[in-house]
């Protein structure tokens, strides 16, 4: 691509943008190989690598801001990757408006969480390894978002899957953590199947899997196949972003250390599915059926996530349910992009960015609470922590206000846009999004009340104390982002994203005054907050979960039967199949071959008797043989 119009510095910045990925990748490699040499200080290398990458991303972003909108998107070829005959796959990076936003989110939130982890993991003997994995994750995630083709994206996609697996199972001595890691890995493979099938289809139709080629040739693909590719990509997004029906792994993923939950399972990796759909907007524009499917999946997930959030007592699982639900909102906007106008893609990314800030904020807050209560996660053992943990409480409250959408905090702007877009598409979808917002307010208020208010229900021997500064400062930074990100990005992001979603010239009214729908959303949110206070704030919360006959609560506590459905639909049939295969193997194949062996043995027992070892009987047999030959020859002559 012609980049001559850029200043020299900017060109250089673009050219070396692979450093963004290479720095954390190299750091991960160093930590894993030579780390033991400087074990006690090793984590600082991880923090430095992440911060260096962040600095590079900021510089790149600044350079992009200074260039004109037309020249911002640059394809940076790095190397030729696969070359087979006339067919080549190049390894390149695409620096554009969408990927730089992701790179900024990943590196800034990632760096903040790296710093937090220095305090959080201080007592862990394997802290160096933890930072190596975090760096590996940062590198893989950056590769995912900066890739210029689906194949390169897939490498990053698998890389974050690997990092996620390693980090969920980081405390591998706990069988539950090891099982959760395996579960996440296996369920993600199902999603990966979707991505590979999408790539195969693209390659069959377009002869290439690079974004530029595929989007240029998408018009020529058979409409049925475009829809199929849309569904394949949706399957991939469902796996990575924990959307129904591949949602069950995210709750178990909370077995990992809390910074991991904040970085991977809230702020960045789980939003990769949204990125994939927004990036593939050219495909969804031609596949309205697939877009409607995205909307339906999103709506179902909004409710399933909220349902789980409402009924769990484990603070991290409530937040995980909330993450599912909020990603549902992003997916909703991403699906609406093709249905009501590409501006919805910008809303999806907007909510993704604000959510990355406030959800990371709340997860780290939850980590701080766990740090204070010896690793307890049961909210029924909390209560009245606001006095003991003032900084954690205040920062958590910022995140809380942001997620339920109180103006002027971040979530208000980003969620309001999505609700309005949903109403613009269909009244029912809009109402569903509206109710989802109310449910968000309900479960988050429940979490806040049970954790920080009411009477102390602390387990004996627990003396909550505020976390050290290395943990509270990241909390404060993220709280500031939760407060300010909405105002800062609100008007700007739609113009910024315009070239990606190809809506040049389209203007979307962004008013600072709440619209009628905005007021309705606020009213629903207020209702949710009041309901939660009414239910959980008035009377004392029992420290064991009360027996209930309420089917909603029972179903919610069992993760909306996520595991049961997986077991019946996938695990049990596969187990039955393997058992059947084993039976066939044991009683059919094995018996056949064993029988053949035994038969051969019996036959040899018969024939070995011929070998008498008597020379004279051998001689006799020889003579008889010679006679036989002679007789046969004679008969031949006569005949």
């Amino acid at each position: 691509m012609e980049i001559g119009t850029l200043t020299f510095d900017a060109t250089g910045l673009y050219q070396y943008s692979w450093l963004l990925i290479a720095i954390p990748a190299l750091s991960a490699l160093l930590l894993l190989t030579f780390g033991p040499l400087f074990d006690r200080k090793a984590h600082w290398l991880g923090v430095f690598a992440s911060c260096a990458s962040c600095g590079y991303a900021l510089a790149l972003f600044y350079a992009m801001l200074r260039t004109g909108a037309a020249e911002r998107a640059v394809d940076v070829p790095v190397a030729e990757w696969i070359s087979a005959g006339s067919w080549t796959v190049s390894f390149g990076l695409q620096i554009d408006q969408l990927s730089i936003l992701f790179a900024l989110l990943i590196t800034t939130v990632g760096s903040i969480i790296h710093i937090y982890s220095v305090g959080y993991m201080a007592d862990d003997p394997r802290r160096r390894r933890f930072f190596a994995y975090l760096n590996l994750f940062i590198a893989a995630m950056l590769l995912l978002v900066l890739a210029d083709s689906y194949l390169t994206l897939f490498v990053g996609w698998e890389g974050v899957g690997l990092a996620s697996y390693l980090l969920i199972g980081f405390w591998q001595h706990k069988p539950s953590a090891a099982a959760a890691a395996k579960k996440a890995f296996v369920m993600n493979r199902i999603g990966d199947l979707g991505l590979t099938m999408a790539m195969f289809s693209m390659f069959a139709w377009c002869g290439s899997v690079s974004f530029a080629d595929v989007f240029a040739k998408v018009d020529g693909i058979d409409p049925g196949w475009v829809t199929a590719i849309g569904f394949f990509l949706l399957l991939a997004a469902c796996g990575k972003s924990a959307q129904v029906p591949l949602q069950a792994w995210l709750l178990d993923a909370m077995e990992g250390p809390t910074p991991v939950s904040a970085l991977i399972h809230a702020a960045t990796m789980v939003t990769a599915g949204v990125y994939l759909i927004v990036r593939s907007n050219a495909i969804y524009a031609l596949a309205p059926v697939a877009s409607v499917a995205v909307v339906i999946v999103a709506l179902v997930t909004i409710f399933v996530g909220a349902w789980i959030g409402c009924s769990k007592d484990d603070i991290k699982k409530v937040l995980a349910g909330s993450t599912m639900s909020q990603i549902g909102y992003m997916m909703l906007a991403a699906g609406l992009g093709a249905l009501i106008g590409p501006v919805a893609y910008a809303f999806a990314i907007f909510h993704l960015l604000t959510h990355g800030c406030f959800k990371a904020n709340m997860f780290l807050g939850a980590g701080s609470v766990m740090h204070a209560t010896d690793g307890d996660v049961d909210m029924r053992h909390f209560g009245a922590l606001r006095k003991a943990l003032p900084v954690t409480f205040l920062t958590f409250a910022c995140g809380y206000l942001a997620i339920i959408g109180i103006p002027p905090l971040a979530g208000y702007f980003s969620k309001d846009h999505i609700v309005e877009a949903a109403f613009e598409y269909h009244l029912g979808v809009g109402l569903a999004a509206l109710i989802g917002a109310g449910l968000t307010a309900f479960y988050m208020t429940r979490l806040l009340v049970m954790t920080f208010f009411g009477k102390a229900r602390w387990v004996e021997g627990v003396h909550p104390h505020e976390s050290p500064k290395i943990m509270t400062i990241p909390l404060i930074l993220l709280a500031l982002a939760s407060i300010g990100a909405g105002v800062a990005l609100n008007a700007w992001i739609i113009d910024w994203m315009a070239p990606i979603s190809a809506v040049a010239g389209e203007t979307h009214a962004v008013s600072w005054m709440p619209t009628p729908i905005g007021i309705a959303t606020l009213a629903t949110v207020a209702l949710g907050v009041l309901a939660a206070i009414w239910l959980f704030g008035r009377c004392e919360v029992p420290s064991t979960p009360p027996q209930t006959k309420n089917p909603l609560v029972i179903v919610g506590r069992r993760d909306v039967f996520g595991d049961v459905i997986n077991d019946t639909l996938v695990v049990k049939p596969v187990m039955a199949l393997s058992t059947a295969a084993d039976v066939v193997d044991q009683s059919g194949l094995d018996r056949m071959w064993n029988g053949l062996g035994k038969g051969t043995l019996a036959l040899s027992q018969l024939t070995r008797k011929v070998q008498t070892g008597r020379v004279r009987s051998y001689a006799l047999v020889t003579v008889l043989g010679a006679l036989l030959v002679g007789v046969l020859l004679l008969i031949g002559q006569l005949g």
Binding site: R608, K609, Q611, G613, R614, V615, V623
Partner: protein, 101 residues
Amino acid sequence: MNPTLLAVVTLAAVLFCIGLVGVLIRRNALIIFMCVELMLNAANLLFVAFAWAHGGLDGQVAAFFVMVVAAAEVVVGLSIIVAVYRARRTTSVDVPDALRL
């Protein structure tokens, strides 16, 4: 058929049968060995007789070959017999049974 040839062929057949029966019924390895030689020489006799009758030299040459091979065979065979005798103090072919099942 030439009466002389007939007589020679009959002699050869008788010699061969004596050798064959000897191989089959005797136990002494040396006797068996001599019987084998007898069979070989019966064959030689036929070679020579038919060569004489047809006026060709092929049979004469073949007889030499058989003699040479038989001489070589005698060397190997006798040394085996001597070795077996040294080990087992017998020349009976029925006694050594190490290879028997």
